[in-house]
């Protein structure tokens, strides 16, 4: 579904990614891990086109999308939930979802119902402005917003960061359900336990390079843990 090859990304003169390769087969849940500042978010931004890579390729669904604009990638089925439970703060919850659905030409109206089915708590908040929701509610909205475009692949950047435990559990369950329904997922996650429960495969970045990747089982390896310890 997603294949990243030899990706180099830099912010001005500061290079962050040094030839990253990553692949997420259809239906898999790949967990992207690593310490702070190793380039996980940068990698997701390059995949969605928010950042332009210096070199390398991004192939999505068998097609080279390296030069394609962000909104076109999204319309082709690449959903992205950025870090930090981002919403349109002055729009209501309903409008947040509406904007995303209207931008996706093929998305069915029922996609919104499916997303609300996953996060029932949002149903009661539809008329509230997103900026006034709690962090956890905003994160649920952020994921729902990506889902109403009916993506074929979902990129999640630390969806549980700074969220209260009860909602972390709901989000984990939601990710599990989405994975079970066949959605391809690339998840950036700091919690090893959560990654162990959800992931099929993992990729560990360090200093802008892939230092380890493999099946979820190998995550239990001590040497892998050492790469994640601060």
């Amino acid at each position: 579904m997603l294949e990243v090859g030899g990706l180099h990304v830099s912010y001005g003169r500061a290079q962050v990614l040094f030839g990253v390769d990553l692949s997420a087969p259809s239906g898999s849940l790949v967990c992207l891990m690593g310490r702070n500042g190793v380039g996980k978010t940068t990698l997701l931004k390059a995949v969605t086109g928010v950042l332009a890579p210096r070199s390398g390729t991004v192939r999505f669904d068998g097609r080279d999308v390296t030069r394609m604009r962000t909104h076109e990638r999204v319309r082709r089925g690449l959903g992205y939930v950025p870090q930090g439970h981002e919403t349109f703060p002055q729009l209501t919850v309903a409008e947040n979802l509406q904007v995303a659905r209207e931008a996706a030409p093929g998305a069915r109206r029922s996609a919104t119902d499916d997303a609300l089915d996953l996060f029932p708590a949002l149903g009661a908040l539809m008329k509230r402005r997103a900026g006034f929701l709690s962090g956890g509610q905003q994160q649920q909205l952020a994921i729902a917003r990506a889902l109403v475009t009916e993506p074929r692949m979902l990129l999640l950047d630390e969806p549980t960061e700074g969220i209260q435990p009860s909602i972390v559990q709901q989000i984990e369950e939601a990710i599990g359900r989405l994975h079970a329904s066949g959605l391809t997922i690339l998840l950036v996650e700091q919690y090893l336990d959560l990654a162990l429960r959800l992931a099929d495969r993992f990729v560990i970045l360090d200093a802008g390079e892939v230092v380890r990747s493999g099946d979820a089982e190998q995550l239990r390896d001590e040497s892998v843990r050492a790469l994640l310890a601060v």
């Binding site: 909104h71 703060p89 002055q90």
Partner: protein, 293 residues
């Protein structure tokens, strides 16, 4: 009676200010672009009415409303596409750039229409006025007020109910998130600029009702228009409405009470706005939410 009279005059000045400033709530308030050429879009709208006069005769003002919207809107669109989009995130450069464009447009108007002012005849049904117990309100002032109110209602409806308006608000609140939600943000920028500039065109048509049309028509209003937007709070429609009418009424009262009317009124208005912004630098209304705090 004197006070009531000044109130009516003030409301009418406020309506003109509001019309001039409405477009800026889009281009400056929503997008953060300081477009000094906005005044020249007003001027272009006024000349549109003048150009249509031989065709539409006495009804030139009515005929000009939609045409001026499109003319000024297209001017804005071209400016955005050709120049301003290369300068997003560089407000000072944008200011200088658009100031230059405004001078070019003024000269262009002089070359085409000549330096002397021209006149647009008001339609017959706008001459005269209503008498309210000794107080006379000219029809053309009422027309401007109705036009301003109509524009505000139209814009509110557009922003709140239409798909395009919703999209515009989304892009202005979180550009990157809009892009990753599948919104073509550049398209939205173009539309925002088109609508904002088009509204300047409408203001220009309205101005032909209260005075002659000349190449510097717009530059007389540009500073006041920015004042309204800043005092009202960026991108806040109701703030702009309140600010425009407050400044209009203030202006008319100071003019009435002081000997050296017009210029002193300017001084007072500026002093009040500066004082107000010391207390509330963010303007009357602000976007407030947990996410933004």
């Amino acid at each position: 009676m004197g006070a009531l009279n000044q109130l009516v005059i003030g409301a009418s000045i406020g309506a003109v200010l509001l019309l001039a400033a409405l477009g800026l709530t889009f281009t400056f308030g929503q997008m953060g672009v300081i477009n000094m050429a906005h005044g020249e879009f007003i001027m272009a709208g006024a000349y549109t009415a003048y150009v249509l006069q031989p065709l539409a005769g006495g009804q030139a003002v009515l005929a000009a409303l939609p045409v001026a919207f499109v003319v000024a809107g297209l001017l804005g669109l071209v400016l955005e596409r050709v120049l301003i989009r290369r300068f997003y995130g560089r407000p000072l450069d944008t200011l200088l750039l658009t100031f230059g464009v405004s001078l070019i447009l003024q000269q262009l108007a002089r070359d085409i229409f000549g330096a002397p002012n021209v006149q647009v005849r008001a339609p017959g049904w706008l001459t005269g006025g209503v008498d309210l117990g000794g107080l006379r309100i000219p029809y053309n002032r009422i027309f401007i007020l109705v036009l301003a109110v109509g524009c505000v209602v139209g814009i509110s409806w557009y922003l709140a109910r239409l798909k395009q308006g919703r999209r515009m608000r989304a892009v202005m609140q979180n550009r990157q998130l809009a892009a990753v939600s599948g919104v073509a943000t550049e398209r939205v920028d173009q539309l925002t600029f088109f609508v904002g500039s088009g509204l300047a065109g409408l203001a220009g048509v309205a101005l032909t009702l209260i005075g002659p049309v000349g190449p510097t028509l717009g530059s007389a209003y540009i500073v006041d228009a920015f004042l309204v937007v800043v005092a009202g709070g960026l991108g806040q429609l109701r703030g702009a409405v309140i600010a425009a009418f407050t400044l209009g009424v203030l202006n008319s009262f100071v003019e009435f009470w002081t000997a050296n009317g017009a210029s002193f009124a300017k001084v007072v208005v500026f002093a009040v706005v500066i004082g107000f912004l010391q207390v509330r630098p963010q303007g009357m209304f602000v976007l407030r939410s947990r996410a933004l705090s």
